[in-house]
Amino acid sequence: MEDLQTRHLENPKVGWNFEKATARAVAVLRRGAFFSNYLIAFAIILILNFALPRMMPGDPLQAIYGEEALLAMTPQLEAELIARLSLDQSMGQQFASYIIALLSGDLGHSYYYNQQVLAVILDFLPWTLLLTGTALVISTLAGLVLGVESGYKRGRNLDKTLLAGLMFLNGFPDFFMGIVLLLVFGVVLGLVPLSGALTPYSGLEGPHLALDILHHLLAPLAALVLVRITSSYLLTRNTMITTLKENFILTARAKGCSEGQIKYRHAGRNSLLPVVTATGLMIPHLITGALFVEIVFSYPGVGWLLYNALLTRDYPLIQGILLMVTVAVLVVNLLVDILYQKLDPRVSHAR
């Protein structure tokens, strides 16, 4: 505030400034365009969810709720459902009532769980958040550190080993990595539990419960991290290689900065931006990876739920999961974009 006032005093241009106004308008437009990506992605998913079951030949009610649900269908229920989905009305009205239902948090009814889809998903969501969240943080941080070290020693043995090793690990699909870890550490060595997120009916509390959860989390987490570490590692390594040729590194060396300072404070910092951007782009892949890993370890998250929904043909649940995951991905991307502006002074000063 003070800054602004003093600037005003130094440069007392009262009234409307054309340049500033256009700059502001452009900024607003750009912000709008930035949000519109998310809106378009969201709209595509909405339309897909709405149109797919209605495109199917035959009774749309069957396509929306799946065959199994119809076994329990009474004429009364059928009439109620048709009224709720406006299936007896025009497509436009059907879409309107679909949107209105979504806005009130009604993602449909899962007949397999006999519960609202939203409630079912929210039951399973925390485990997925725990798994993907920790995997994201650990793989990004480890990738950064390994990338800095590897890029600094480019062409030496450490770099060669890390590069080949991580590229090799990255080739493993998440679910196969999960299976290998499960077989080796679970079946053969018996070190980690074979399924679940905690020991059922154990009555554990406090720190023991936390340890139990961690024990169950270890193998699925390791599977995700081992596969996902590579993208942030490669980016950091590439940025390190280019940054180390810059003049300011020479200056830092001439000043007598220590190796650690040059590595992390001068060169490594430059990798943060691309890594943060890539993390945002990686999140959809990470989430799908987590879905597969959950299935392998019967980890009770959204992926496992999706697999069961697929097996039981619980269409409303599959659609609900698609919608929720898309929203999650978009929200995280939005947060990453905001973080990006905070990290890069050029972006925030450009406003």
């Binding site: 365009a33 519109s36 990506n37 998310y38 378009i40 992605a41 595509i44 998913i45 897909l48 969810n49 797919l52 079951p53 199917m56 396509a63 480019r154 062409g155 770099d159 060669k160 590069l163 080949a164 590229m167 090799f168 990255n170 080739g171 493993f172 699909p173 679910f175 196969f176 299976i179 290998v180 499960l182 077989l183 079946v187 490669l234 590439n238 290689i241 280019t242 782009l281 959809p284 989430i287 799908t288 879905l291 597969f292 299935i295 392998v296 999706l306 697999y307 697929l310 097996l311 043909r313 269409y315 599959i318 659609q319 999961i321 698609l322 995951v325 898309t326 991905v329 978009l330 991307n333």
Partner: protein, 287 residues
Amino acid sequence: MHVNVWHEVAESNLGKAGLFLIGLMVALAVFAPILSPYSPRENTDAPAFSRPSEDHWLGTNDARQDIWTQLIYGARTSLAVGFGVALLSAFISILIGGTAAIFGGVYDRFWMRIVDATIAIPDVIVIILVAAYFRPNVLLMILLLSALSWPGGARVIRAQTLTLKERMHVSAARTFGAGWSHLLIHHIIPDLGPILIAIMIQDARRAVFMEAGLSFLGISDPSMMSWGKMMQYARVFTYLEVWKWWLLPTGLALSLTLIGLSFTGFALESALDPRLRDGAKGHKGGI
């Protein structure tokens, strides 16, 4: 300075390893009928779950089928899907990315908006949803995977076309009144060369991965053998010892294919990126 990209890929260790692995998998897929006397669905005379032997290199599964045979026929599905998606997706990428760069303006902005939006969509779940409604087959799988994987390539090709557009031969063609299709086919595509291949390798890698993952979930063409499907079946029997010659080799074949593609892609990208090339003295591309 002119750089022979292919030469550099073949020189680097990663590139060599990658090309070798891809070649190996292609050979397995092509020569499958020669490499095995059985057919993938044939119920052999050996008992179920027999151990690896001279007749059955990787033993047999629960239905007395030869696992080695299934493995090499599975390579056909994976590679067909990978190759199909790479071609189709590259075609869409060039069409959209190239024309967006040539026309510019509203058309360009419209497509780039779509590209940005599609990149944020979680593709596996979209395919699961579509496959839950439609009967999945290889063609549908290729179409779906391509529909979801072209945006990344389109962005790169657009950027590349924007710089190519300013070259003399393109401007010359434009002054003579060349249409966009002529420009794309005769002037842009030949100059894209290795970049296009890098995009296709990436798309193929993703497609092979997705096809395996989806068939692991049970979403697969019922008439085709597939690695993901084999792993899905084999996973049920982890309490027996069979996973050692059923589950692991299948997963390894899949992983080695993916590794081959990513090694080659990485070697190609480092050869293409002038900043990553010639770093240390006597150092040639990649590691």
